[in-house]
Symmetry: C2
Subunit: 242 residues, 2 copies
């Protein structure tokens, strides 16, 4: 499984992904699930993926390969983020259709995947899309400023409690890290290292990308602070009175 | 959907269930999901249910009806909790098989359900079982002192952080209430009122049963205290440093 979260806030975008993939419990590996398509000063697009690893790797490979061919529509020349999401959706359909058609009859492999595409293209506002296995997509709004894909439930309550459209980027990243920590603790199929990125509005820069490993001092500090804080507010609750 | 949690701790048992059922978003109703089979001084058995409502209601009806017939094995004369769990498992198989066989061909209705059975029969220690749709079951242990059924993921992180085998019953109930609150906030298919019960070890009493509605003063107080506490520890986290 996987857990990815992306936020589209007034001052920028925040992305965080784990890196564990598993097929059963025997095949556990680390794969990057956060991919950046960058053209300095013009566009920054971030793609996060969850689902069948063969499908998502094929989609990323095709999108990367095609972005080198300026003659055809690709992520580096798409005129708008809506067009970029359409392009990703078409690639999703292409790969899933190709692999499903080749499937042996009777086999029930799930080839599906979900993707998050966020970023900014010059001349436009920042946008964030959730692209479904069917290739269609929805967009984050002021009311619903974040999307999750993969193993999303464990880490949802904390986001629902603290995240708003106007949350500053640093706080939003703290929230994403805690959301990931809750998921890591409750679900073995989500694992370190994490790939995270902060995109400040109108920066057209992918400079603020970080990889967080087991011994990352800040991640360790907020895991500890959050865990101890939870236990402390729990013990301070008013005594049970039913 | 539904969310039920049950804990088997050194000093007793704790049960908590929501009461919402839904078939799509149009048919939302309130049904009790916590059922007690009681014989003062001899046994207290608590059954919680999640899944197809027709299935779970049938199972409860059959178990209740049969418990009035002392001639045949039932929950009120089962010699041990293991036998009681076996009996419930057989009833699960009976109902699911009956309804599945009558299903029109091509229909894919999911008749399955999950049940939690906890309690104590005199002469035995307290025990807690999770009974699967297949009718087999697993038992809670000192290492894994709690089970959840239904929409369990939102409310799991808090339990994983604060619950231990030796947690006192009152604290364990606080933990269950917070786990339910997190689930209520993040998932519309889980709803108030809640049915909760504390069973102190060797009491053979079902006296500490409570129904918690929207305006329950203690539940409102810990919801507020927990929510404000979370925001306060969040704002006190060390500043982001990646």
């Amino acid at each position: 499984m996987t857990y990815c979260v992306a936020m589209r806030l007034s001052s920028g975008l925040v992305f965080a992904s784990d890196s564990r993939t598993n097929a059963g419990v025997d095949h556990i590996s680390t794969f990057r699930k956060l991919h950046v398509f960058q053209q300095d000063g013009d566009r920054t697009l971030v793609l996060q993926s969850a689902g069948n690893l063969a499908t998502t790797q094929s989609i990323i490979s095709l999108l990367l390969h095609r972005s080198k061919d300026a003659e055809r529509p690709n992520l580096l020349n798409a005129p708008s983020l809506y067009d970029a999401a359409t392009l990703v959706g078409e690639t999703v359909r292409e790969v899933i259709q190709r692999d499903s058609e080749a499937q042996q009859s009777g086999s029930t492999t799930d080839f599906s995947c979900n993707l998050l595409l966020g970023g900014q293209i010059s001349g436009e506002e920042m946008r964030l899309f959730h692209i479904y296995p069917q290739g269609n997509f929805i967009e984050a709004t002021r009311d619903t400023p974040y999307f999750q894909i993969g193993e999303s439930k464990y880490g949802k309550p904390i986001i629902d409690r603290v995240l708003h459209y106007d949350t500053p980027l640093e706080q939003a990243m703290q929230c994403a890290l805690i959301s990931l920590d809750s998921t890591l603790r409750s679900n073995l199929s989500v694992g370190l290292p994490l790939d995270v990125m902060i995109y400040p509005r109108d920066s057209f820069s992918h400079a603020r990308q970080y990889r967080i490993t087991e011994d990352h001092p800040y991640f360790s500090a907020i895991r500890k602070g959050w865990g101890e804080g939870l236990v402390s507010i729990f013990t301070q609750l008013p005594p049970l009175q039913l």
